[in-house]
């Protein structure tokens, strides 16, 4: 713009400060909790390593070197080799990659099924709400692994349908969280105020309800993700998930269990990975929960 504006107020205009930007505030609150920050760092490293494992300078996870069977950790193979001489490190990273993807599938299915319906019924209430709530209660009464096993029995041994089945059983939790939050928000005056400004119900749900429900959902998502990893491990441990030669954390445990006496490290390594993953995700989700509840109780 050229020339001094005649509309300028005589007092100097301070530079626009984004001091209280939402994102910056979250980060500061998060960083204050050292433990969860450490967990986030570890989690990020694991995820990066797993996602990038195909391009990292590692042995192929399925490549057998029968001469190097059951090597101890250290030396040529950092984490040793398994009973077919496959590089344990490469296998664990490949397995983690599959586990993360499987957990993500289950979580996404849960979100897609549970959240939109929960937001709508929580906001609208009435008969629709009680009907759908009972329906989701019914779904929740199904044990996730049993449903997954049944699906596998019908569709064959594949991981994706099994994880989708688990996601379906996860969906009631998402439904409940979003329904409860939406029904609280629905009675707030700012919803009525928003109506008085001429906004339609779908728009109100998309902005005000989603905006206020998001913190609760982020926490629920991270918790569910951890459950997803455990569920995948359990399925593959039972031989119903990933099929050989591909590795998943659960299937690695199964084959290692036979060698527990001679090569215990083969059980410990994938087991440790499961524990660390789930623990880190839980710590991060705890921190997220603390931040979001702290922000509400201003």
């Amino acid at each position: 713009m050229s020339g001094p504006s005649t509309l300028m107020v005589d007092q100097p205009v301070p530079p626009v400060v984004l001091a209280s930007s939402d994102r910056a505030g979250w980060w500061r609150a998060f960083a204050r909790n050292r433990l969860s920050l450490a967990a986030l760092v570890v989690l990020t490293l694991i995820v990066l390593a797993a996602v990038l494992s195909p391009v990292l300078p590692l042995h192929h996870p399925d490549a057998q070197a029968l001469a190097d069977r059951l090597q101890s950790p250290g030396g040529k193979y950092l984490l040793g080799t398994d009973e077919l001489g496959r590089d344990e490190l490469a296998r664990i990273l490949a397995a983690t990659r599959i586990s993360l993807w499987a957990a993500l599938q289950a979580t996404l299915v849960g979100i897609v099924l549970g959240v939109p319906i929960g937001l709508v019924t929580g906001f609208v209430g009435g008969r629709l709400d009680s009907m759908l709530s009972r329906a989701f209660d019914t779904v929740q009464s199904i044990p996730p692994l049993i449903l997954a096993i049944a699906i596998v029995a019908v569709l064959g041994r594949q991981l994706t349908p099994a994880m989708i089945a688990i996601g379906i059983v996860f969906s009631p939790t998402f439904y409940r969280v979003s329904r409860a939050a939406a029904s609280t928000v629905a009675n707030e005056t700012y919803i009525e105020a928003s109506r008085a400004m001429g906004r339609s119900n779908p728009r109100i749900v998309l902005t005000h309800v989603v905006g206020n429900v998001a913190p609760a959902l982020i926490v629920q998502t991270s918790t569910t993700f951890a459950f997803g990893i455990l569920a995948e491990a359990a399925l593959s441990y039972l031989g119903l998930g990933v099929q050989p030669p591909s590795a998943s954390l659960g299937s690695m445990l199964t084959s290692a269990a036979n060698l527990l006496n001679s090569s215990p490290q083969l059980t410990v390594e994938p087991g440790l990975m499961i524990v660390v993953l789930v623990l880190c995700i839980s710590l991060v989700s705890d921190a997220l929960r603390d931040i979001s509840s702290g922000e509400r109780s201003r």
Binding site: P14, S20, S194, G198, S200, T207, G211
Partner: protein, 348 residues
Amino acid sequence: MRTRSRAESGSATPDTDLALSIRGLEIGVLDPAAPGGLVPVVTGVDLALAPREILGLVGESGSGKSLTSLAVTRLLDPRTVRVQSGSIRLFGRELLSLSEPSMRAVRGQDIGMIFQDPMTSLDPAFTVGYQLSSVLRRHTDLRDRAVRERALELLGLVGLGDPRRRIEQYPHQLSGGARQRVMIAMAVACQPRVLIADEPTTALDATTQAQILELLKSLADTLDMSTLITTHDLGVVADVCDRVAVMYAGQIVEQARVEQLFYHPKHPYTERLLMSLPRVGVPPDLQGIPGQPPRAGTFPPGCRFAPRCSYVDAPGCVVTVPPLRPLGDERAARCVRVDDVHLSGVST
């Protein structure tokens, strides 16, 4: 400068001169136990709001004043409340028969509304600027930079200092008064012709209250806007209103210009309300009104104030509901003894 076309004013009805005209409004609350399934809570309310006028709708809790104001924007919860009959016209245009999408276009555009509690009427999850801009985007063609400019301008209009900082802030970073100013900015963002303020100052402290009322008064002037304020506080009425309508048990019992109502009330309920006002310099012997207002569904057959009125005499008081009698000079009172009892107002 008003940019809106007044195309619909072509349909000539007697109400086109009035900003807002409410006639025979009947509102019932759903109750399966009641005869007909509805308990009447607002019965036969008539109100007229002239352009640029500030009308106070006074009554105690449960008198039906908030329901009446919500009915104008058709924001009553259809699950619990029904408008049974009546007519609400905005410059002659019937609102009760509009489709929901047309009504949404009226809300925020032609009728602005502000609420009692500024602490909860702004969404805590979004900045002031976001919420204000979304109203502008909904009802105007302004986009991007122009929206921001207009938002800053509006915040200045409602007297918020340092709009550039305010626009980035979240509601919890603002005081109650500042939030109510933001609410007002949102309500007047599209230069509505009618502003409905439902107990706008009840949740604010006395100093802030006076500032907000002053703001409403000046906005009515600068924006060429009519204002309907509901309140239970006669002090608010005395501060800003041109005219007052007093509601009791779902009916309007008296209408008058402010000075007339305060100095020469014509309905015993108004007199008792004035007697229960605290006054500066007078020993605090406030006189409450004996008894309780009747609950909806248990209205007495005659005058609804009769059980608590000290002037009950004529059989007309308890047998049939007295009509709202016009007394000339823009006044009306719902009392059969309006000619033979002398009521005292506020002494000067």
